[in-house]
Symmetry: C2
């Protein structure tokens, strides 16, 4: 960063590497609520979801811009908390906040961040998966969805299940994993799991022109996920696991002969399936008995 | 642009030049109204105000991201018009729309754009003015403010004064002028006039540690400005001229021995004052009789 906040634009040093650029918006009432989340965590998450996109490209975060449209009745402390949280996570991931714009709105608060990053090696795209490639996911799935369910339906459970709640309110972007994937030229395609496993797998499959089979028994379910599902008395735990979204884990593919470690940058990596020729974009969930599962109104069921 | 819309992030080619980054937000009801402006012009202006910031750095626009928070009752045609207008002006200024995020809001529409550009030569900052430097402005001032006044107070005048109305609804970013300034190493400091001449002159003066004296009789008033002021029956035309804002002209300084042409990239350039030692950030308006003007509740008056 040559010049930060205070001029008509910020100035960044030239880069010998390709630049990745992304943006994400969070709207009060849709993406966050002040009664469910401290402003600091709202600020953190606003940048985190962008860091996750840069991570999915295998790039190093560099400079962020913050656009805030605030209600006039919003307390000063809320504004300060959002800014503090955003600066905090920017520092943790070595990104600089170089500018922004603050406006008033009569409606819900709208927070947008745009972020650029440097792709030190070849950027990881969604389009590189090939038939025969294995499918991997980092960390654990579904915790964020259960955390949100607890906050909305059973807030009294939150203290005992703070881990899954934190996964929803304060997600961890897998920046170091993305860098390890691209530096090691391990992955053929990559995406961050924001919409939900099956949907995001579909994004890779469609852009790559392959189909995917994912094995239900291999999907990483953490002890915290099991405990929260139990406490909520969920009859269907598969939907939050594969369609909950906001996991911000990395889902990636790699050729079968590529040796993918069991963990990258300290984060567990699980092989969950395989790419095939066939209907482009199709994602099939396979149970342990070999039967295929389909999404119905009641959740996921055997065909 | 190596990769546009459709992945976790867009990918831009490496650049041997410094990158400038900027963003601006427009909120329905504050910055635009659907009853005053066709959606296409709202889209154009959303990018134009960012192009103007890049112009003020003397940089070449490159890639834009568009964040739209839309009301669910907004007609599809409004969305299409905004997108069309934005793509249109992006094309005109050789910028690419490489990504974005569309969300729903229960409140006013919020449109944000972030834009990056390449500084082919040394970027133009606000901080480079020195005592003795001359002060210049491009084009004409105050038209946008009168255009807004007509739209709000006397819409029946709009057809006869379409030029000033267009200056408000569809401003022209001075990109080619900014590039000419930096390529010719003409300017010591530069800003775009978005807040109003005196306020933006103050930004340069403060950041440069100088004071400025601007000569009232030299301020460029167009025939269209005079005609609109007459039609509106304005007793105070100085306030829209020097404090109206949204002119999106470039205000710049240059050393006294630098030969600044009377026009740059086809846009008239007018010398309007001089930088001095003295109270940093102070901007004084001087009348033809040498008296100084001050802003009062009634507008600008002699001391």
């Amino acid at each position: 960063v040559i010049l930060g906040i205070g001029d008509d634009a910020a100035v960044l040093a030239p880069s010998a590497h390709p630049i990745v650029v992304t943006c994400d918006t969070m709207v009060e009432g849709t993406h966050f609520r002040f009664d469910l989340s401290p402003p600091r965590l709202i600020g953190r998450k606003t940048l985190a979801v962008n860091l996750s996109d840069v991570a999915a490209m295998g790039a190093r975060p560099r400079a962020a811009l913050l656009m805030m449209s605030l209600r006039s009745d919003l307390e000063r402390a809320s504004f300060d908390g959002i800014a503090q949280g955003l600066l905090e996570i920017a520092y943790e991931y070595d990104a600089a906040l170089v500018g922004g714009d603050t406006t008033r709105t009569a409606g819900p608060v709208v927070l947008s961040v745009s972020l650029d990053g440097e792709a030190m090696s070849e950027p990881l795209l969604r389009s590189g998966a090939r038939p025969g490639d294995r499918v991997y996911v980092t960390g654990a799935l579904g915790e964020s969805a259960l955390g949100l369910r607890i906050l909305l339906d059973r807030p009294e459970l939150a203290p005992a299940h703070s881990e899954v709640v934190a996964r929803h309110l304060d997600p961890t972007p897998r920046v170091a994993v993305g860098l390890a994937l691209t530096e090691g030229r391990l992955a053929s395609a990559c995406i961050d799991v924001s919409d939900g496993l099956v949907q995001d797998a579909g994004h890779i499959a469609r852009r790559s022109g392959v189909s995917m089979r994912l094995e239900l028994d291999r999907l990483p379910r953490s002890a915290a996920f099991r405990a929260a599902a139990g406490a909520l008395g969920l009859s269907d735990w598969l939907t939050p696991l594969v369609a909950g979204g906001e996991d911000y884990e990395l889902l990636f593919t790699a050729p079968a002969d590529r040796r993918v470690p069991e963990s990258l940058a300290g984060v567990p990596v699980t092989k969950i399936g395989e790419c095939h020729e066939g209907l482009s974009g199709e994602v099939t969930l396979v149970a342990s008995d070999g039967s295929e599962l389909a999404l119905t109104r009641k959740g996921w069921e055997h065909f």
